[in-house]
Amino acid sequence: MSMKFKAFLYKLSPLLVFILIFSILELAVQIFTIPVYILPSPIASFRYIITSFGEMWPHMQKTFSQYLIGYPIGSLIGFSLALIFIMSKTVTKAISPYLTIIFCTPQIVLIPLLKVWLGYGATVCTIVCALSCFSSTMTQIMTGAEMIPVERFELVKSCKGTKLQSFFHIIVPSCWSSTFTGLKLGAISGLAGVIGAEMIGDTRGIGYVVKLDTNIYLMVEMFAYVYVLMAFGYIVYSLICLAEDKFVKQ
């Protein structure tokens, strides 16, 4: 095998792995004649995605749009609050244990309560998503700010810089990489928040449909939605990683 071909295969290997896995599943389903209510053939699910995209779209749109609203809002609030709080060491010390507690708790515990307050509906999902993202970005940025080397502040002091200059020229740029870590974590927990909220208490959306389809044995459809969800999550996460590579020069 030539070097070029090997390099080409290397680049393509993730795709090959996906194809391999789906092929194995498909073969297993065919050879062992696994009943469709235990494991549907992946090809059937892909066919469903292509043929019934119109039916899938409303649920997809609901989930994705709530995620794409809650995630930026939560992250932005977390980002802004973090930058405000890190200006004061006492405030940071006072609230960071509670932030960590919020971060550690799966935000979906709040869903029954939110349902009582706000009723069934889209808002619950968006709020849970925003909360998850908020705690991720905030905790990461505040941790990142603690790691800024003291000499950077001394540098500004040695030029008689103001606290504001310190903020814009040292704190904010130094925190970029923590911000992106927080965004990555937020992407994951935000998606879990939306899906969880839909599975537990909603009447539309991917989470709801997956739960419904499983209960009424529509496994082909159910896996179709799962594959779509996986693709969406992967795309969002990859976009953030790409943005991180571009904007963070460490």
Binding site: P149, R152, E154, K157, K160
Partner: protein
């Protein structure tokens, strides 16, 4: 000519942290004259870095008088910008900001001072040319080695043409060969630009190699125990370290410091 441009009289520094009280400096008295190359040498933790931070008004002393070029520091009041501009500070580790290019890092103090004239850009370009770093102007710090990062750190300290350079163990983390090269380059720049340099190091040999005068400090509490004039001819080359006079200086100074590592490499 014989008037000192920097004078510290009876300076004390006591740090009050939440957990303990540390007497970092006790009764520091020193004088620096124009165009002098003075080293302060001593073991780790003796407070030599504290002294130059006090001079650059990064820390305020608990007691004592500091005079720079006729201006006396007023306690609890910020030193005016015009006085601070006379100082250039070189940190122990290069302390470059990784998201800015080399040139932007060098111009950073100018940005903080709100100097936006294109005239300053020319000064920085000249500095890069003098030190032979012009080709690295658009590199990011992540691409450079430690020695080069520190050279950029020195250039940054000089970007606003200060007359006094404060250097906090600038080459301590580098290997012997690189340190020697950078010492020579520092002396060359000092000779060209006619600055006054206060050079902090824990390496006695390096202190003797570069300076006109050496203050020796001891620790616990930090205090000056000796002041020695170095009468070696300039320009100094590495061969001077083999001379009898150099070795005598080294032995004498070393004996003045308790618990010392000879030629300690950090």
């Amino acid at each position: 000519m014989t008037d000192s441009i920097i004078k510290m009289e009876h300076v004390d520094m006591v740090f009050h942290t939440r957990t303990q009280e540390i007497e970092a400096l006790r009764d520091i008295n020193l004088q620096i004259f124009k165009h002098e190359f003075v080293s302060i040498v001593g073991p780790s933790g003796c407070g030599k870095s504290t002294i130059i931070r006090i001079l650059d008004d990064i820390i305020q002393p608990t007691k004592g008088t500091i005079t720079v070029d006729g201006y006396t520091y007023i306690p609890n009041k910020q030193v005016p910008k015009e006085v601070i501009r006379k100082f250039g500070f070189v940190f122990q580790n290069p302390n470059l900001l990784p998201w800015m290019t080399v040139k932007k890092n060098i111009m950073f103090p100018l940005k903080i001072f709100h100097d936006k004239d294109s005239q300053w850009e020319k000064v920085v370009d000249d500095l890069l040319k003098i030190s032979g770093m012009s080709e690295y102007a658009d590199y990011y710090p992540g691409a450079l080695s430690g020695g080069m990062l520190q050279r950029v750190g020195v250039l940054r300290a000089m970007s606003y043409q200060p007359s006094i350079l404060l250097m906090d163990e600038p080459y301590g983390t580098l290997d012997n060969l690189r340190r020697e090269q950078l010492d020579m380059e520092t002396m060359r720049l000092w000779d060209t630009l006619k600055q006054t340099i206060i050079f902090i190091t824990h390496n006695v040999a390096e202190a003797i190699f570069v300076s006109d005068r050496v203050y020796v400090m001891d620790t616990q509490p930090g205090r000056i125990v000796e002041e020695v004039k170095i009468d070696l001819p300039r320009p100094r080359t590495p061969e001077v370290t083999a001379t009898k006079q150099f070795k005598e200086y080294k032995q004498y100074l070393t004996s003045k410091i308790s618990n010392v590592d000879l030629n300690a490499i950090k």
